[in-house]
Amino acid sequence: MKRFAFYQIGTSAIATNAFARRLGIETVTLPSPNLATIAKGISLSPEFSCFPFKVLLGSLAQGVERGADVFVVPFGRSVSACQLADFGMAQKYILRRLGHDFDILQLNTVRPDRVLDSFRPHMPDLTLMQVSEGVLVAAQKLLLLESVEDHWRDIYLVSRKREAEAFREKWIRAIDVTDSILELLELGLKMDGDRAAHPALEPGKLLRIAVIGDMYAINEKIINNNIFERLCDLGVYPENGIKLRMLFDPGLPPATPDELSLSARAKGYLRHNIGGFADDTVRSAIRFAEEGYDGLIHIYPFSCMPEVVVRSILPRVGADLDIPVLNLPIDEQTGDAGFTTRVEAFVDLIDFRRSR
């Protein structure tokens, strides 16, 4: 039987593992990206490919070493017009030269029938029912994992790091081992109850910063230098502007007057979808500015084409809407010290602005 490995971002493995269990497929678990992954990725990758490309290639290599035959790339819609479109192929070429062969399965949608079509060639007996349930459970888990992060932040800010970490660990474990749809619903309620036992947070009193930019950079701690925790340490309320769920957001056209006007204004800055999460980034920049956030941190891999475009446009957005923007390009060499200094200086700046 073929062995599958799923690309992962942040804690997404918990969701994809549940999906795999539902389908009864055998998985190879990739280690979450660590320094060894990164080093391996860098050594195999073309110099100018983006940092996520290198990290993903590193984990692919670790995956083939562990015997994976098929890589599932749940990239969703971000795949359009971005280097990611060429990721699969290029990585295959690179690893083939080293004598590894494997298949790549790209999932661009979570529609169960399409997912079924993609898996059928590898698993002829799969049923639509199994796939639908798998998708549902995985989606439930993904959303729960996101609320864990929100709760973690709130507890971190009012209580202490240790309590926040304990909360996170406890509930991530619980989400991981619960595979029934009903129990997951119940788990969500219990988790909210547990959260309510901690003192409430008044975000309005804190400086609020929205972190926007590239999906992978924002959701993978090892790539973003743990930006959310650093902001909390500085007493700032951070909001994740590009959540994991957006990978599979069906991208419904804007419907309400608010949404329509937001997307029209965003188009004034960036007229076309240029792939990745560029249009989401511009839209959320405008949205958070109007919600009264104190600053925007734009974080992106150094050579990410869509985000480099956004990087040129955001200063204009910031000037028009009167919100400071910090650009944080990251690559494998982004030093810890410089990074922290820039974030701290930025927080000082917005603190000063607010006190005026």
Partner: protein, 341 residues
């Protein structure tokens, strides 16, 4: 333009600026005819020089690639000199492949970094550049003329000019030659000398890369002319027709996502097969990430090796080193017997 006298309401033609950058090298013949037929005065930004480049570098963020920085310089060169600057959003001119995000959004970038830009634009996103282009262009044209018959006539004329230009390009002419020939209404068959650039006895060198890079002498170390001066005949990746690019790709497992990348890969493969080509020079902008993966494709799919010189271009690359490498390369292929390699 604080010191400019208000435009006289009389017969002054609308001045329409076209930056000499990016798609200028692909579609200028069309735009030139189209807009002048509609009564506009077409103003092209100056040839790239130190000032334009410096201006581009100073307004652009560091991470942008050189061609986009250069575009910003050319756009800035036009501001204040014309009523509109025309810069289209070109997303796709062929089914299934796209331009890179920076190219697609280049008008947005220019707008964000060049203050006071009177941008005039059109969306080009079609399977075939010429079929539904008319619909897209009507809107732009409406700023210049309200007469649909006149617009259509201008469109037809522009198409003819563009087609003639492309005939020359596909026959192997370089940009300036093809532009001049098309302006004079000469067809390639009229050219007694045969396709430009093919005359002479020297080795045939293929120059491969993005058209806006090697056609701009200032940023490409005057590569094309340097080669000719040394007696080489030159053929470029522009000379492949879209169909020929497609042919090469149907043989591969999967194309890249990029129109320009595909052309580079296809040309390298095609030129490697051609017995008369002595060597290939591949010019690539520093930090062009779409090109970085293109190299993986070339390495994986190259049938026979020809001598290949990769020249990476950025704003700092000094001429001297490049010239030395070019000369060495040239000497090497000049020594190879014709047809070998």
């Amino acid at each position: 333009m604080p010191f400019m006298a208000p435009a006289p309401v009389t017969e002054r033609k609308t001045r329409l600026g076209i930056p000499r950058a990016l798609f200028y090298y692909a579609y200028f013949p069309f735009w030139e005819v189209f807009f002048s037929e509609l009564g506009a005065e077409v103003v092209v930004s100056g040839r790239t020089n130190k000032k334009i480049l410096q201006e581009g570098l100073s307004v652009s963020t560091g991470e942008l690639c050189l061609p986009i920085k250069l575009l910003n310089g050319h756009v800035a060169d036009l501001v204040g000199r014309c009523d509109f600057v025309f810069l289209p959003y070109i997303i796709s001119t062929q089914k299934g492949s796209y331009y890179c995000p920076k190219l697609i959004a280049s008008p947005d970038i220019a707008k964000a970094v060049v203050p006071g830009l009177p941008l005039m634009s059109a969306d080009v996103d079609i399977d075939n550049f010429f079929t539904s282009l008319f619909a897209t262009l009507r809107e732009v044209a409406s700023k210049l003329s309200t007469n649909p018959v006149r617009i259509y006539a201008a469109f037809r004329k522009a198409l003819e000019r563009q087609e003639l230009f492309e005939c020359h390009i596909h026959a192997g002419a370089l940009f300036e030659e093809a532009l001049a020939a098309a302006r004079q209404g000469r067809s390639p068959a009229d050219d007694a000398r045969g396709p430009a650039g093919r005359e002479g006895e020297g080795p045939l060198v293929a120059v491969v890369g993005h058209t806006y890079l090697f056609n701009d002498p200032y940023i490409s170390f005057d590569l094309l002319h340097r080669l000719r001066e040394r007696g080489a005949r030159v053929v470029t990746s522009d000379s492949l027709s879209a169909a020929q690019v497609g042919e090469e790709f149907s043989a591969l497992e999967k194309g890249t996502h990029w129109s320009l990348g595909n052309r580079v890969v296809a040309s390298v493969i095609r030129f490697s097969r051609r017995r008369d080509v002595g060597g290939i020079v591949y010019v690539t902008p520093f930090g062009c990430s779409s090109d970085s993966l293109v190299k993986e494709y070339i390495d994986a799919n190259l049938p026979e090796r020809k001598p290949l010189l990769v020249l990476t271009v950025d704003e700092h690359s000094g001429d001297a080193g490049v010239v030395t490498r070019l000369e060495a390369f040239f000497d090497m292929i000049a020594r190879l017997p014709a047809g070998a390699g």
